[in-house]
């Protein structure tokens, strides 16, 4: 090739943009997390102190942080698997030969994914209303007393998980359908001849075959569930009794409500570390299981 570095000109604008608007700020956030950058420092940089690991140490001593972390982990480890199970269930249903109107059903199941989160969170807020909400009305038909879904600390998390599962399961469903279509029918026939029933075939043929997809989906899903923010912001504002404060919600409040940028950056980095850790564990676990 005559002009060897022409590609650089093609790549440079995007690369510079990502460095300036993403890597730079992320690095700056790391530095800020070691300072007590707050609204006073914003007004006058003389009010800025370098505090070392103080933000992190204090964070670990803050009950709200642990609350937020445990809430977030609840979303990740309860909501994530639930959402994936729903995705897989729906994918298996729609992948079966006997299913009719598959495309229509797939579109309906997928629709919540593309809808605007804030808008549908609002819809659920009304659906979950203690008195006039449809869910309680439907439950009353089964003789279940009204539940204060978003107001009762016991129920607020499950209620939000319900919403998040509704909103998100279609995405993974599509990935699972694609994976299921690649499962060798010979293999499932072979298992039938070997005497495996539907559940054994699922365990021994389908599950190993879609293993890589499950790993990928679980990483993506859990990463996504670590980043829940708009749901509590719109539906509960973190309440009741801080029951739905997530780590990211805490970061937002610290950072953009109270302008404690030092604290907020520390929160952000702890969140980042947790997400990184999760991804590494999952990848390790999967490679041990022989999923490539």
């Amino acid at each position: 090739m005559r002009n060897n570095n022409i590609g650089l000109w093609f790549v440079a604008p995007a690369f510079i943009a990502i460095v300036v608007f993403f890597f730079g700020p992320a690095l700056a956030a790391l530095i800020i997390s070691f300072t007590d950058f707050d609204i006073y420092a914003l007004a006058d940089l003389k009010n800025l102190r370098f505090v070392g690991f103080k933000n992190y140490i204090e964070l670990l001593q803050t009950p709200l942080f642990w609350k937020a972390l445990s809430n977030t982990l609840f979303f990740v480890f309860v909501g994530g698997p639930l959402s994936m199970a729903a995705s897989l269930g729906a994918a298996i249903l729609l992948n079966s030969q006997a299913a009719k109107f598959k495309n229509l059903a797939r579109t309906i199941f997928f629709a919540p994914v593309v809808t605007t989160l804030v808008a549908t969170a609002l819809v659920f807020k009304y659906l979950l209303h203690t008195k006039y909400g449809f869910l309680n009305f439907a439950l009353s038909k089964f003789g279940i007393d009204p539940i204060d879904w978003l107001g009762d600390p016991k129920w607020a998390m499950p209620a939000i998980v319900l919403f998040v599962v509704w909103k998100s399961f279609g995405y993974n469903m599509v990935i699972f359908i694609a994976a299921l279509q690649n499962v060798s029918s010979d293999l499932s026939d072979a298992a039938k001849i070997d005497g495996a029933n539907a559940w054994q075939r699922f365990l021994n043929v389908t599950l190993p075959a879609i293993g890589p997809s499950i790993l990928l989906v679980s990483i993506m899903t859990m990463t996504g569930f670590f980043q829940l923010f708009a749901e509590p912001y719109v539906m509960t504002q973190g309440g009741p009794a801080e029951q739905t404060v997530t780590v990211l919600y805490m970061m937002y409040e610290q950072g953009f409500k109270w302008w404690n940028l030092g604290n907020a950056s520390a929160v952000a980095f702890v969140l980042f570390l947790f997400m990184l850790l999760m991804t590494i564990i999952q990848t390790k676990f999967a490679s041990k299981q022989g999923v490539s």
């Binding site: 002009n3 570095n5 022409i6 590609g7 650089l8 093609f10 790549v11 604008p13 995007a14 690369f15 990502i18 608007f21 993403f22 890597f23 730079g24 700020p25 992320a26 700056a28 956030a29 800020i32 249903l93 729609l94 006997a98 299913a99 579109t107 309906i108 629709a111 593309v114 809808t115 605007t116 989160l117 804030v118 808008a119 549908t120 609002l122 819809v123 009304y126 659906l127 008195k131 006039y132 909400g133 009305f137 509704w166 990935i175 694609a178 990463t223 923010f229 708009a230 990211l248 970061m251 937002y252 950072g255 953009f256 907020a264 950056s265 952000a268 980095f269 969140l271 980042f272 997400m275």
Partner: protein
């Protein structure tokens, strides 16, 4: 053909599931056409007693919805244009052009995938403040200029373009820019539609960044406006549902129209791992 009872059960189950999944969206639409206060009665009504558009009138006349609608549409279009220009050039170059530092740069971008976007938000805000870009469209668009995800998607697609085609064009005397505009861009059209759609939907549905960067109500996008309004108008469910309809409907229609492209992008992004 024998119709097995379990097949009937399976289809019935799918049908019920579809109703449950679609119900919130149906209910949103239904309530938005109710008279003020109608939805806050027990038992909750399924359909409006009398279909009316008063909630929409109220929304458009009193809350500046036109402004938010304009902001959302305008930002989504600009984000799409930005994303297409920046990501397509870069994705193509990473796939098909050799240059110094290509691998290093690509690995750098790869590293960006594990860092959540929120980490840099606060310094980014301060950075934009020094440029005077807080509360501007430009500030809201910054995260959409280029995305690692977009570059990956284009790169993956561009790799399927045969090298011979580029070589033939070079033999015919085309320069690199001509090759890109005349040859590559037409061939990348499908992935550009996909990327454009993803960006448009992403920008439209985005919440956290516009919430932070748009400091006055003239600059709100629909989701931000909706979140703010919902705190002020808790009791006006009909009006809020009308707002939700206005917010959701455009993206839903766009998705249904371009579903094929959307699914392709989704699956492409899911095999990158």
């Amino acid at each position: 053909m024998r119709i097995k009872p379990q097949n009937i059960a399976l289809n019935a189950f799918i049908f019920i599931l579809a109703i449950i999944v679609a119900f919130p969206l149906f209910w949103m639409l239904s309530v938005s056409f109710m008279a003020a206060g109608e939805a806050s009665t027990f038992p909750p009504p399924l359909l409006p007693k009398q279909t009316q558009t008063s909630a929409y009138h109220e929304l458009f006349s009193s809350s500046g919805l036109w402004k938010y609608l304009f902001n959302s549409i305008f930002l989504a279009i600009c984000a799409t244009i930005l994303s297409l220009t920046f990501n397509v050039t870069a994705g193509y170059a990473f796939a098909k052009l050799k240059f110094k530092g290509r691998e290093a740069m690509f690995q750098t971008l790869l590293a960006a995938m594990v860092v959540p976007a929120q980490v840099g938000m606060m310094p980014l805000f301060l950075l934009l403040k020094t440029f005077g870009l807080v509360n501007t469209y430009a500030g809201a668009l910054v995260p959409w200029i280029a995305s690692v995800f977009g570059i990956f998607m284009v790169r993956q697609f561009a790799q399927s373009i045969p090298d011979e085609m580029l070589e033939a064009a070079r033999m015919d005397g085309a320069n690199e820019w001509q090759i890109f505009t005349k040859l590559i861009v037409p061939n990348l059209m499908p992935v550009m539609v996909t990327l454009g759609l993803f960006t448009f939907l992403g920008s439209w549905n985005d919440f956290m960044w516009p919430l932070i960067i748009m400091t006055d109500s003239n600059s709100y996008t629909l989701p931000v406006a909706l979140a703010v309004l919902s705190r002020e108008h808790v009791q006006d469910s009909e009006m809020m549902m009308a707002g939700a309809v206005i917010t959701v409907l455009p993206v839903l229609i766009l998705f249904i129209a371009l579903q094929r492209f959307y699914m392709r992008g989704l699956l492409a992004s899911s095999v990158k791992g």
